[in-house]
């Protein structure tokens, strides 16, 4: 693997991490305010559809402004679903998880239903042409600096040449940090996710704060969806969010509900996706794989040594790992090379999240009042 390949993989990492990052920050605002949101996926999908449709329809008349109209439409669609989530979970104190599930299905069905009746293309939108897509932006001097060794390729290939939304997403990281941790609004928002009664006692409206958070979440999800359809791809395809909303949720837990760490987590998951796109099958020496499996199994047994239940559950997992190790030994032999399947790479973000959730690698503690509707005493 040469230097340029690494740069290219990192470049696609940044592209693939951007929608995850935006959705992750969206979830951050909502969940920090105590509103669980498993509807990120649906909001992204709805935004992707709305932005692609409007960008396509506006291209003839609006020219290069069409893509911006698309972005606004995407944000609008996403905020609409956010308000529905707010209505169910804040005003009517319903179950936030069930509401999120409903929103995911609503988006998944409606995008196809409307898409078919408007474009009649089997649920897709027509491919977007120049004015309907976000163009890549060249950073200044990228022509002149390209010849410098090491720094040149990094600047030209990796940092320059992304769409404007990528840079916007990166800017949102310090901005979110500042808003959440250095402003009065941020303090209140975090407080309402930990102890809404205290915020209420201080004379601040819990309902208004939570609605604000949910709307912010909608705006960020809208940008994420618009990036999917008008930045990463050229048009909307059925189910194009493809589980990214859930990976963003995983990244949020991975980052323990903090913005800067969210950048790290989404870049990691983006890197995994970029690697599995470029190398569908990764070859490893079988011996390395076997050692990893045995060490993992031993760790699990050690972790479960204290109670019978833990030992039986973790022991079961350890037994499966050992069975895989044995299978590798019998089929390829210790000296051979075995292939990590691409499916494993796809599942890795989810597996990592489960491990993080298990609390073996630092405990992820969600906001305390998360998921509970606030009932004011009468």
């Amino acid at each position: 693997m040469d230097f340029l390949t690494i740069i290219q993989i990192l470049d696609s990492t940044v592209r693939l991490a951007t929608p995850l990052l935006l959705a992750c920050l969206a979830g951050l605002f909502s969940e920090r305010a105590g509103i669980f949101d498993i509807g990120l996926e649906g909001k992204m999908l709805a935004a992707a559809f709305a932005s692609a449709s409007v960008a396509y329809l506006a291209t003839p008349g609006w020219g290069s402004l069409a893509v911006w109209a698309g972005l606004l439409a995407g944000i609008f669609a996403s905020v609409l679903l956010s308000l529905l989530h707010g209505l169910a979970s804040i005003t009517f104190r319903g179950n936030q998880l069930i509401s999120g599930v409903a929103i995911n299905f609503l988006a998944s069905g409606l995008t196809v239903l409307i898409g078919l009746s408007v474009f009649r293309l089997g649920g897709r939108t027509p491919a977007l042409t120049d004015g309907g897509r976000f163009e890549s932006v060249s950073l200044p001097f990228s022509g002149a600096l390209g010849d410098i060794p090491l720094f040149g390729p990094i600047y030209v290939e990796l940092l320059s040449g992304h769409t404007i939304l990528v840079y916007v997403a990166m800017l949102f990281v310090p901005l979110s940090w500042f808003v959440l941790f250095r402003t009065r609004f941020g303090l209140r928002l975090r407080a309402v996710g930990e102890n809404p009664a205290a915020v209420d006692t201080a004379g601040i409206s819990v309902v208004r704060l939570r609605y604000t958070a949910v709307i912010l979440c909608g705006v960020l999800c809208g940008i994420a969806g618009a990036y999917l359809a008008t930045g990463l791809a050229a048009g909307f395809v059925k189910e194009m969010s493809a589980g990214r909303g859930f990976i963003a949720l995983a990244a949020l837990i991975f980052a323990k509900w903090r913005p800067v760490q969210a950048l790290g987590a989404t870049l990691l998951f983006g890197l995994l996706e970029a690697i599995s796109n470029r190398y569908p099958n990764i070859d490893l020496p079988a011996s390395v794989l076997i050692v990893v499996l045995v060490v993992l199994a031993a760790t699990l047994l050690f972790a479960g040594r204290k109670s019978k239940l833990d030992l039986s559950v973790l022991g079961g997992v350890a037994a499966i790992l050992m069975a895989i190790a044995l299978w590798i030994i019998t089929t390829t032999g210790i000296g051979g090379t075995s292939t990590l399947p691409s499916q494993f790479m796809q599942a890795l973000p989810y597996i990592l999240t489960v491990i993080i959730l298990a609390g073996f690698v630092g405990k992820a503690i969600p906001p305390r009042a998360g998921g509970q509707p606030y009932v004011k005493e009468r």
Binding site: S99, A102, A250, V313, Q343, F344, Y350
Partner: protein
């Protein structure tokens, strides 16, 4: 909140939710430029208008009974199991392994074996999320979502790299041997003189689903374990005070839930496809959520809700076949049912409660 009679709470509230969901769906059909009357007529005829249509409706309903019961059992313990999709997929793997690699002499024995395997695989897939919730406090909703994706990747790997017969192109197992083929519902009904369209996917698994309904009822309301499950669901501190171990009950209820979801596989994998294909569950695990909400987590309610969703699913397929309205309309209806009977439940409750309060006032 205004008090209302128990029947209103159990029946009227979900029915009002359902009606609202249908009204909004109707408006959406109008908005996309179609005729809702025509759509309803086609859906009703296509789902319950002939025994052929019933053959499909009952097949889908069987799937949804299993996944609905799965969600309901977990609901009773205040666990929200969104992992039905993955658990049913793993159940399918269990059923496929048992059907492919054990030479069964007769379908009855094969059915017993497949039932055990489907339930066991589904339950095992729910074990880890259950343990993570019970012992480590990791949220069951997040872990079961993650396990759905892991299951999809696992099934993909197994079907493409391990179980695919040599030379076959599509990622699926070989056809199950003849001896494991379940009799279709039409075979039995025709045998006792009731005419029923052949070549429909409804099969004897329907009876297993009905037995599962009865067993779940007995378990939840007539056994000590069921009492413990419901106690934990109502109030954890009270359950702990009463000497109930939350860890034990969470583990047991989630494994039961996973097992029920896994049982679905004997219907779709063994009864219908007769081989394991990619994405065999087709969202039935998620529809189980709507079914359980609609059916108020009670087996009788679930039975009716599953029939309704079976008819919707089949009717939606007919719509997609004969009109410009895509079958995704069913997903929208499903979403609206979840929204109105689940998330906006409180809104309808307040509304119905006010109605009763007004009537009481009028009587006084």
């Amino acid at each position: 909140m205004e008090p209302m009679p128990k029947w209103a709470d159990l029946v009227l509230v979900p029915v009002v939710g359902l009606v609202l969901a249908f009204i909004v769906s109707g408006l959406m059909i109008i908005a996309t430029g179609h005729d809702p009357k025509e759509a309803v007529k086609l859906m009703v005829e296509g789902s319950v208008g002939s025994t052929y249509a019933w053959g499909f409706t009952l097949y889908y309903a069987t799937n949804f009974i299993f996944t609905g019961l799965a969600v309901a059992v977990a609901f009773h313990a205040a666990m929200f199991n969104i992992g039905g999709e993955g658990q049913a997929a793993l159940g399918g793997l269990g059923v496929a392994l048992v059907c492919l690699f054990i030479p069964w002499p007769h379908w009855t024995l094969a059915l017993l074996g497949a039932t055990a395997a489907g339930a066991a695989f589904g339950a095992l897939w729910a074990t880890l999320p259950a343990w993570l919730q019970a012992r480590r406090g990791s949220h069951i909703v997040i872990t079961t979502i993650m396990f759905n994706f892991i299951a999809a990747a696992l099934l993909n790997y197994v079907l493409v790299n391990v179980l695919r017969p040599a030379g076959a192109m599509d990622p699926a197992t070989a056809k199950f041997p003849e001896a494991t083929h379940l009799p279709a519902l039409s075979d039995w009904l025709n045998a006792i003189g009731i005419p029923f369209a052949a070549r429909t996917p409804a099969n004897v698994t329907l009876f297993i689903a009905l037995i599962a309904c009865v067993l779940v009822y007995l378990l939840i309301w007539r056994t000590r374990l069921g009492f413990e499950i419901r106690s934990l669901g109502k109030s954890e501190p009270a359950a702990v005070y009463g000497g109930i171990s939350p860890v034990k009950i969470i583990m047991i209820s989630m494994m039961l839930s996973g097992g029920l979801a896994g049982l679905m596989a004997i219907n779709n994998v063994m009864g219908e496809a007769e081989r394991l294909v990619l994405n065999s569950v087709e969202g039935a695990g998620f529809i189980g959520i709507a079914v359980a909400l609609m059916g108020r987590s009670h087996p009788i309610g679930i039975l009716f809700a599953a029939l309704l969703f079976g008819a919707l699913y089949q009717g939606g397929a007919e719509l997609g076949l004969w009109t410009q309205i895509p079958r995704e309309l069913v997903i929208v209806i499903q979403a609206l049912v979840i929204l109105f009977t689940g998330a906006l439940d409180q809104m309808i409750r307040m509304f119905v409660g006010k109605l009763f309060a007004m009537r009481r006032k009028a009587e006084v």
